[in-house]
């Protein structure tokens, strides 16, 4: 054997010895940054992720099946538990679908109340994102500030509907209009309580303030920029390919917002901008949400000036029966397009309810986008997609 051959052999021996096998790392289902019970089976080489496979279903509660044996009124109470950080917003598309199916339309005032509460839900959902995202990057203080402010929003929702998270306030043909079906006290109207508009505009002033504070704490923070700018870039074509919607899509430069493009409720009467940013990285996804809070504040300010008086409930039969048919209704939820496909066979209950939940669709991009990223970036990217596991697993 020549020395050259020996050298060659020893080199190859070394390279064989130094081969490092990929380590399979189970991130979740119990992990601080998986927002609950998402499980990612990641093949990692050191801190570099080779590939990742999301495993979902740890929180499957079977809402689609449950809905098949519930009346429409009961389903309304269920659907606000799908995406619990914006409970009211997930009720709206369902009730709009049932109304479309039955051919009723809610009175003007009810529509405006729905709009105000949807936007309050949007603010509260985005505030949860704004609080939890810096936390995932290791900053603990923004959490305290923005959750403190969210409390004022939840109080407003509770004041009107009686529930902080699960309002169950939408009814077919309007919003909950009386305390109950009784004769005396319970027949009383359940319109907005006195002073609601004043407290709302006060809360909106607080929201402006907290947005500025968050700007100081997070947006301008160089360490946050180092962690997020240029990380997890989703180009617009990929975003559309994976069916992303909502802020995640708009951060990739696609200014698509159902409130504008397929207007529902009374969104066509208020003025607001569709926030979009060109970058598609984590920082842009964060900024889009922060700006959307400001836009929502703008919408609510207009709405409390424009809301007309009038009835809260259209005339609907006592026993709700949808005629035979099917309908797909959707709305722009805080997290993106939220849709229900309702099939009715003419009974009190839907024959089939298909839920197009936002977080599930937004999550589909995870295997593509996490490939080749570092573990700290995994946390940054996953957090920036802003999903709720209840919304993923349904």
């Amino acid at each position: 054997m020549t020395s050259r051959e020996m050298m060659h052999r020893s080199e190859s021996a070394v390279s064989i010895e130094l081969q490092t096998p990929d380590m399979t790392l189970n991130i979740g289902p119990q992990h601080p940054s998986t927002h609950g019970v998402l499980r990612l089976v990641a093949k990692v080489d050191g801190e570099r992720i080779r590939e990742v496979e999301p495993v979902i279903g740890y929180m499957h509660r079977g809402y689609e099946k449950l809905a098949e044996v519930r009346t429409y009124a009961q389903i309304t109470a269920l659907v606000n538990r799908i995406d619990w950080v914006s409970g009211f917003a997930s009720e709206v598309p369902f009730i709009l679908g049932v109304e479309k199916l039955m051919g009723v339309e809610a009175p003007e005032r009810a529509q405006w109340i729905r709009l105000i509460l949807s936007e309050l839900a949007r603010i509260s959902s985005h505030l949860v994102f704004i609080s939890s995202y810096p936390l995932e990057l290791g900053a603990t203080t923004p959490l305290m500030h923005s959750l403190r402010e969210r409390e004022y929003i939840l109080e407003l929702i509770e004041e009107v509907t009686g529930g902080r998270f699960h309002p169950n306030f939408n009814r077919v043909g309007g919003v909950k209009s009386a305390y109950g079906g009784g004769s005396t006290t319970k027949k009383q109207s359940m319109d907005l309580p006195a002073g609601f508009f004043k407290r709302t505009s006060e809360a909106m002033d607080r929201m402006d303030k907290i947005c500025d504070d968050i700007d100081t704490l997070v947006t301008g923070n160089e360490l946050i920029k180092m962690r997020t700018v240029g990380v997890g870039i989703i180009p617009p074509d990929k975003a559309l390919e994976f069916g992303l919607s909502g802020p995640n899509l708009r951060a990739s430069g696609v200014a698509y917002d159902l409130r504008k493009s397929d207007s529902y409720l009374t969104y066509d009467q208020v003025e607001f901008d569709v926030v979009s940013r060109p970058g598609g990285d984590c920082y842009d996804r964060y900024l889009v949400r922060l700006h959307e809070v400001r836009e929502s504040v703008k919408i609510i300010r207009q709405a409390i000036d424009m809301i007309p008086s009038g009835p809260l409930q259209a005339k609907v039969p006592r026993v709700l029966k949808a005629p035979k048919g099917h309908v797909y209704s959707r709305a722009e939820n805080p997290k993106g397009e939220f849709g229900y496909y309702i099939v009715s066979e003419g009974g009190k209950m839907p024959y089939r309810l298909k839920i197009r939940s936002t977080s599930f669709s937004n999550l589909t991009i995870l295997p593509w986008i996490l490939k080749g990223q570092l573990i700290p970036d995994l946390v940054a990217i996953m957090g920036s997609l802003d999903f709720v596991l209840g919304d993923v697993d349904r």
Partner: protein
């Protein structure tokens, strides 16, 4: 908002200034056991029952999305109002239990009750160490009746 990172990190120091400014503010915390928070009148805390108004119609039990209301009753003869007329009966409530371990606080039962028998009250202090104790019976539900608030005034 520029994405560039300037060297002396002004953003870091602005953020640190903000946290320092927060220090002088009082924490907006209700110190719970000593100070009670007052929930809004519409808050769905616990359901109270007015036994006299209940006619054992079972509507609430039927409409409950997760069937956490248990009702039993029996008919009692009220006696003839007129001689020869049909015997009038009255429904009497034997059992009215709400399992708060199951209840999802949707309020459908209160809404469908046609006889003013169920009311929401914002009371919230009824946690129990045992799940089974969350089953409130007729007597316990009646106790809550005292805490039913006045309905708030409305926005004109």
């Amino acid at each position: 908002m520029s994405k560039s990172i300037n060297f002396p990190f002004p953003g870091l120091f602005r953020g640190m200034g903000l946290t320092l400014k927060t220090m002088v503010k009082r924490a907006p915390v209700t110190m719970y056991p000593e100070v009670q928070e007052v929930p809004v009148p519409r808050a769905r805390g616990v359901i109270s029952l007015d036994v006299d108004n209940c006619t054992v119609c079972m509507l609430c039990a039927r409409e409950c999305p997760d069937w956490c209301i248990y009702i039993e009753g029996h008919k009692e003869e009220k006696g003839e109002t007129k001689p020869g007329a049909r015997m009038r009966t009255k429904n009497l409530l034997d059992r009215f239990d709400i399992d708060y371990g199951l209840c999802m606080y949707c309020g459908i039962c209160v809404e469908v009750c046609p006889f003013d028998a169920l009311f929401w009250t914002p009371e919230y202090e009824y946690s129990e160490p045992r799940v089974a104790d969350l089953l409130h019976n007729k007597e316990k539900l009646t106790e809550w009746l005292a805490t039913v608030p006045e309905n708030p005034a409305l926005e004109s």
